[in-house]
Symmetry: C3
């Protein structure tokens, strides 16, 4: 079972990140992969302000992709946690999540 960790911290990198995740899930040579995406920095605003993206994220969440938001970044961008889509998990610090997951064997990809 492969484990993939995507890091998005710029608004304009979401598109490339989602293409990466879709290609990964569609790759018939990959048998079983656990996927998590951690958004921190300015990128977290897209969770609440980009409805089209939100629909795509929900579809991927329904396929098992975990979407994570950094609490520090939410606060810094004045986003109330209760306004996030229900499939987004909040962690105290996105950067800690990125490091912890790698220590658990996740491979890091920064689109």
């Amino acid at each position: 079972m492969l484990k993939a960790l995507f890091h998005v911290d710029e608004v304009n990198k979401w598109r490339l990140a989602l293409t990466n995740i879709r290609n990964l899930l569609a790759d018939t040579e990959v048998r079983g992969v656990e996927v998590e995406l951690v958004a921190n920095g300015p990128a977290v605003v897209s969770y609440v302000r980009d409805a089209a993206l939100g629909n795509e994220l929900r579809a991927l969440a329904n396929e098992g992709v975990r979407f994570v938001a950094c609490r520090n970044a939410l606060r810094g961008n004045h986003i109330a946690e209760e306004t996030l889509p229900d499939f987004v998990q909040v962690v105290p610090a996105g950067v800690s999540e990125l490091i912890r997951r790698q220590s658990e064997g996740f491979a890091y990809v920064k689109p």
Copy 2:
């Protein structure tokens, strides 16, 4: 033996990536290193449209650097595989290659 995996997904990052690889190969404190570069996203166009870069890539390929292109990205950018330089290997999905190689012990570097 160190293992290094470079990820390039933007056209304007090739220069920095090649400088990194050259510095790595020239580092006399490094005794033996396996080097692979995976290009996906818009960066794959440089494999066919930048002749000067192509010459530099070929020189590095001759030194043992593996250059990989993502098939999804080639299709998305309307690049026929047979127009790629002969030293470029095509994989079904660049993102899967990035994850698989890390699970094999390659260290990831995103210039």
Copy 3:
């Protein structure tokens, strides 16, 4: 003990990198973390030309964060090593440091 390796190669990514490091050090759920930041490419100029940043780096260095500069990048940017702040360590090639540290269990983060 977690180990975190930050990579900065663009001048305009320092801000995000320092926010990441501060959030990591402030995360009360993280018990013990070793932090190193490797600057290569154009980013090394900030070590000598951005006094405000320098003060922030020194404060973090006093908290145990290791700051590293790539000798190739220093030469490429005409920066004499003796003009660096005393808390900055110089390595022959930043890219080799990034790879070696990952082989030692450091998790890579590219802000």
